[in-house]
């Protein structure tokens, strides 16, 4: 299960060993996150400093626990984790820390105190999208909330953030709240089912599966409202007008390159170049105005693809190329520079 | 006499859906007697017994049992996946430390129980599923005997037993009688009833006919069937010379000519069923059907082989009919593609064909669309026969087809079978009622332990000869 082939001890002279333990590969985001990780590992400086490996667990805590235990057995120096359960891995992560292994978790992070985390502020995610919708509607209108997978931390935080903003604006009326399971197909089906019995909808707030929600509006021959949503390429195609109709909205993503930043943090901490502190990064965010074809939206990539695989702009945390995200191949002749904020 | 009865049932009614198994039936037996319950198949014996031991709740009537009661049912109630020992000791297994079941002692204890009851040729560690029917029956009997009952009820205990096992059972029944227990049993073998029973109760169509201490067989038969058997058998036409079926199954050579009815005699469980199933393609088998030599691997092959083979099983509910499906579906099942175009059933043709058979066999059904399960036993059996009449099979394997069929329908059957033979069909017939074989067959092969023990030219006429042949060098009861 190791993309860069080797995880045998003799090979890695002087190289530090860092493994990515990903809870499951069940959606496009995870695939991209892994690809950029692999790409980064194949690019300097990591190419000659780090010896990477990648593992997936079937979204099942037991499996991921086994893998992390095995990584401990392998004597890796650092473990980068996207967890199957924010709480489920505390036990084994503690064991890793006890053995002096640097553990960095991101996206779906691990609670264990001893571990470092790299993440975006999920509550803020909810707030920003909600605030955008509110501003566009001038504080007046009917809003629909499409939530994610219940029983997960991220879903809770995002919803909490959004609720705070919407409640603060008396003019905004949340006319429906239902779960899209962070899956475009499901989001589309649920939205389609709900729309007919809904009044005029002026804005939608989507925790995931945004393109599905928009498709549902189009099918129902309803005007697509102001949309605050995730960073699905499909959604951004609408923002950019690549897909019709052009949609007015804001797209914030949980960036896949969190894995790369975690890699960098792990490396830096092991090398002693960075204090043992967690990192929170700003979201790469685009609106219908700022979205750029070829940079933050990709017509020739799947809708389910997450278009925020790279940060953009002058003070970008990290800049990656398309093939890194799609094939996990290194960006030609480029040394990777990661800002740990 | 009812002052001191061990079991007493009065005015019991019980019906299963349409079938009235018992109507105002009464029965009583005393301590210290062996009491036979006689009656045709379907007379209601088993139902009465189930009522007596409370397994079946009567719709109406009273039941009283005094003393510890143990019953061996007709359908074996052994558990196939458990060992003999586990079956014997299911209810009070040997206890070891902390009152836990001492599994290691199961086998020895069971072994002792078996030998206490005079059984030595049976491995208590064997898985019941793998035992012969006779041995399973023995285990079942030992299980009830071991409970030291005051009232012992046995439903057709000997049906599957070999002669020396029958003797063994008889001894135990007598011992219990001496000990003052009440022993009730049912049987279709008059010899046993005569030899064992102090009193006989006769049932017919679910009602009590009589209870007597003296009763000759012919009287009994008259009472059971409501008429004398002899008269009910039709005359047989002479068979033709052309051979219809020829096969060697294990150690048995079978040759049946057109128009010939060959009876397979012998006690139950002597390999007759295996013989029939092999001829019908369960397992690989070489057969010559209507001069065509073929290997049949599955029933489909047998049905298609040469002039066609048909098998009517005794257990129609498990192996013959699709109870919830309509009479029509059941009749048509084996010959669907004959009345179909491009896989579509030609309903009109089917209805016509089915109606033809229904009329010919006088199947009594409200409509051919009714589930066959709602028909009476006799009519269910007719439907099963009808299926093969539709298939036009020329070789008929009839395995105990008159089980649970009332006397009148039985008679229709005899006529039908004789008629089919007269039209040149070849019939291989097994029946648990030796009388049928004695009167209905041109030739009788008597089987014992999977081999042909004797061949009698028929119609044999008197069943005693067959029985005698069936148990040569076995001592009589």
């Amino acid at each position: 299960a190791c993309s860069t082939g080797e995880n045998s001890p003799k090979e890695s002279k002087g190289k530090i060993k860092i493994a990515l333990s990903n809870s499951f590969i069940g959606n496009g985001w995870r695939v991209e996150m892994e690809n950029v990780f692999k790409a980064a590992c194949a690019m300097p400086p990591y190419k000659d400093q780090v010896d990477c490996s990648v593992f997936n667990a079937g979204n099942d805590v037991a499996t991921q626990t086994r893998q992390i235990s095995n990584l401990i057995a392998q004597g890796v120096d650092g473990i980068v984790i996207n967890a199957a359960s924010t709480s489920g891995l505390n036990g084994v992560v503690q064991q890793a820390c006890d053995r002096g292994i640097v553990v960095v978790s991101f996206d779906n992070t691990v609670d264990a105190k001893c571990g470092l985390t790299v993440n975006t502020d999920q509550v803020k995610f909810g707030e920003q999208l909600a605030q955008f919708v509110v501003d566009q509607l001038k504080g007046q209108g009917n809003v629909v909330m499409v939530t994610g997978v219940a029983g997960t931390g991220a879903d809770n935080d995002r919803n909490a953030g959004a609720k705070k903003v919407f409640d603060a604006n008396p003019g905004i009326k949340v006319v429906a709240t239902y779960s899209g399971m962070w899956d475009s197909a499901t989001a589309q089906r649920q939205t389609a089912a709900q729309l007919p019995s809904l009044p005029k909808v002026d804005g939608v707030w989507v925790s995931g599966g945004t393109d599905g929600v928009i498709k549902a509006f189009i099918e129902a021959n309803r005007p697509v409202p102001v949309t605050g949503g995730e960073a699905e390429n499909g959604f951004r195609k609408y923002l950019a007008g690549v897909s019709t109709p052009k949609v007015n909205g804001m797209s914030i993503g949980q960036p896949p390159f969190l894995s790369v930043i975690s890699l960098e943090l792990a490396r830096a901490v092991i090398k002693g170049e960075h204090p043992k502190t967690s990192v929170t990064i700003p979201f790469p965010m685009v609106t219908s105005e700022t979205v750029k074809v070829g940079e933050t939206v990709f017509p020739d990539l799947p809708d389910s693809f997450f278009a925020d695989f790279t940060d953009s702009g002058p003070d970008a945390t990290v800049v990656l190329c398309q093939e890194a995200a799609t094939d996990g191949t290194p960006c030609p002749g480029k040394t990777l520079a990661v800002k740990l904020g | 006499m009812t002052d001191q009865t061990a079991v007493h049932a009065e005015g019991v009614d019980r019906s299963f859906g349409g079938v009235r198994a018992l109507r105002d039936a009464s029965f009583s037996a005393r301590p210290g007697e062996i009491h036979a319950l006689a009656g045709e198949n379907g007379a209601g014996k088993s139902t009465m017994i189930k009522v007596l031991c409370g397994l079946v709740r009567p719709d109406k009537g009273t039941v009283r049992v005094t003393g510890r009661l143990a019953t061996a049912f007709q359908e074996l109630s052994l558990l196939p996946d458990l060992t003999v020992a586990e079956n014997l000791l299911l209810h009070d297994p040997p206890r070891g430390r902390f009152g836990l079941v001492a599994r290691r002692r199961l086998v020895p204890v069971a072994g002792r129980i078996l030998s206490d009851h005079g059984i030595h040729d049976l491995d208590p560690a064997a898985v019941t599923r793998d035992l012969s029917v006779a041995h399973r029956q023995v285990v079942e009997l030992v299980r009830v005997l071991a409970t030291r009952p005051e009232v012992l009820v046995l439903d057709e205990p000997t049906a599957a037993l070999q002669e020396q096992q029958v003797a063994w059972l008889a001894a135990h029944m007598r011992r219990l009688r001496e000990e003052g227990c009440c022993v009730v049993f049912t049987s279709h073998r008059w010899r046993e009833i005569e030899a064992l029973a102090d009193r006989v109760t006769v049932f017919r169509n679910g009602t009590h006919v009589t209870t007597r201490s003296r009763l000759t067989e012919s009287e009994a038969v008259t009472l059971m069937s409501g008429r004398t058997l002899e008269a009910t058998y039709p005359p047989l036409a002479p068979p033709q010379d052309t051979v219809a079926l020829e096969a060697r199954v294990g150690e048995v050579d079978i040759t049946v000519r057109r128009g010939e009815i060959v009876g397979i005699g012998g006690l139950a469980g002597q390999g007759q069923r295996e013989l029939f199933l092999r001829l019908f393609g369960i397992g690989r088998q070489q057969v010559t059907v209507g001069g065509v030599r073929t290997t049949i691997r599955r029933p489909k092959d047998a049905i298609r082989a040469g002039i066609g083979i048909a098998y009517v099983p005794e257990d129609r509910k498990a192996e013959g009919l699709l109870l919830p499906m309509s009479v029509r579906d059941n009749l048509a099942l084996a010959t669907l593609e004959r009345r179909s175009v491009a896989g579509f059933v030609r309903r009109a043709a089917e209805r016509a064909a089915v109606q033809g058979v229904v009329d010919r066999l006088a199947v009594r059904a409200a409509s051919t669309a009714h589930p066959v399960g709602t028909l009476s036993g006799g009519n269910q059996q007719k439907v099963l026969m009808g299926r093969w009449l539709l298939s036009g099979a020329e070789v008929l394997l009839l395995f105990d087809v008159t089980r649970g069929v009332d006397a009148a329908t039985k008679h229709d059957f005899y006529v039908l079978v004789a008629g089919l033979a007269a039209q040149g069909r070849a019939v291989l017939l097994y029946s648990s009622e030796t009388e049928e074989i004695a009167h209905l067959c041109h030739r009788v092969l008597v089987m014992r332990e999977g081999r042909v023990a004797a061949t009698l030219d028929g119609p044999v006429g008197d069943a005693e000869r067959i029985v005698a042949a069936a148990m040569k060098e076995h001592q009589h009861v």
């Binding site: 709240t177 089912a193 094939d327 | 919830p324």
Partner: protein, 322 residues
């Protein structure tokens, strides 16, 4: 088994009516509770969503009729969806080929399932569960987790029109569903094959002794099950435009639920597709209503389960010794 049971079994038609009654009850209740729920647009969309369950339900029912079960649906569905887009590359010209490939994939998996169950005697639960894993592995691996170049392509336009388009105001997807319903019903009620299916389902032993090829029939049913799962995948990808990983996940339990809510006996031998149609609608209606009423996730699960239990109690009971 005794005659009461026989009689109870004898009236599958009655169970169909129960199933429709259940669906009607939910719909009416919804229309009363939630304004707009009963409107034609709302019903129309619910029917379209039900049709997807209807397709997997058709496959599931066929195997359940012979006492089997197909747990490989989720990834057969998903795999077929991926095959469709990747092989069609969004070009109408390649559509026929692509559809054939997708359905063929389903058929192939069904064949494996059938052979494993009927000939190797592997319990259906295990065989289909295993195949589900196999297919998941292949789908993920071969499509590089859906990041492959061709994975970007959409379902060809004609197909999408077929699913989301309208004919005289009726979504053509519904016409497709009607077609499937007709097909399955005809297959089961008017053909010799159908007769054999019910025979095997009611009593394989007796069917076998009446010359029915128990095993061929079983295999054929699993193949059909695979094809219908694939069909669901094809239409779903047309509906959403592109496949996503986990597209099929919701459809395992829903297919089983639809079958039993539709009055099909899980022990086999009894049931008609009409019931499954009603069952699919019932399920969609329940979920839609609960979502519309903003019942929190936990409440949705609890109520969903209880409703199904209630339905089972009214007409899903088996004889204890069946």
């Amino acid at each position: 088994m005794n005659l009461e049971a026989v009689l109870r079994k004898a009236a599958p038609q009655r169970r169909i009516w129960y199933a429709f009654a259940a669906a009607a009850t939910i719909l009416v209740a919804g229309a009363v509770i939630h304004p707009g729920f009963g409107s034609w647009p709302s019903l129309r969309t619910m029917l379209v969503l039900a049709s997807f369950i209807g397709f997997v339900g058709a496959g599931q029912m066929l195997v359940v009729l012979v006492g089997g079960i197909d747990l490989s649906m989720p990834w057969v569905l998903n795999g077929a969806a991926i095959v469709l887009t990747t092989s069609s590359l969004g070009q109408s010209g390649r559509l026929p080929l692509a559809v054939l490939l997708a359905l063929g994939t389903g058929a192939a998996v069904g064949l494996c399932n059938g052979l494993g169950v009927a000939w190797l005697g592997v319990p259906a639960v295990v065989m289909t569960l295993g195949m589900n894993g196999v297919l998941q592995g292949l789908s993920l691996g071969l499509s590089k987790g859906l990041t492959c170049a061709s994975c970007a392509s959409y379902a060809p336009e004609p197909l999408r029109r077929l699913v989301v388009g309208r004919v005289w105001g009726v979504p053509s997807q519904l016409l497709l569903w009607a077609g499937v319903a007709l097909l399955v019903t005809v297959l089961l009620t008017f053909t010799t094959f159908g007769r054999r299916v019910y025979a095997v389902g009611n009593n394989p032993r007796a069917a076998f002794l009446a010359g029915v090829g128990v095993r061929p029939v079983t295999v054929a049913l699993y193949v059909l099950s695979g094809v219908f799962a694939a069909l669901a995948g094809v239409t779903l990808v047309a509906y959403g435009g592109q496949p996503s990983l986990g597209l099929g996940d919701p459809y395992l339990f829903e297919s089983i639920a639809a079958v039993v809510v539709g009055g099909v006996s899980i022990l086999g031998g009894r049931g008609h597709y009409a019931g499954v149609v009603a069952g699919s609608v019932t399920l969609v209606a329940i979920v839609t209503l609960l979502q519309a009423e903003r019942v929190p996730e936990y409440g949705r699960n609890v109520i969903y389960g209880l409703v199904i239990l209630a339905i089972l109690f009214t007409y899903g009971r088996e004889r204890a010794d069946d």
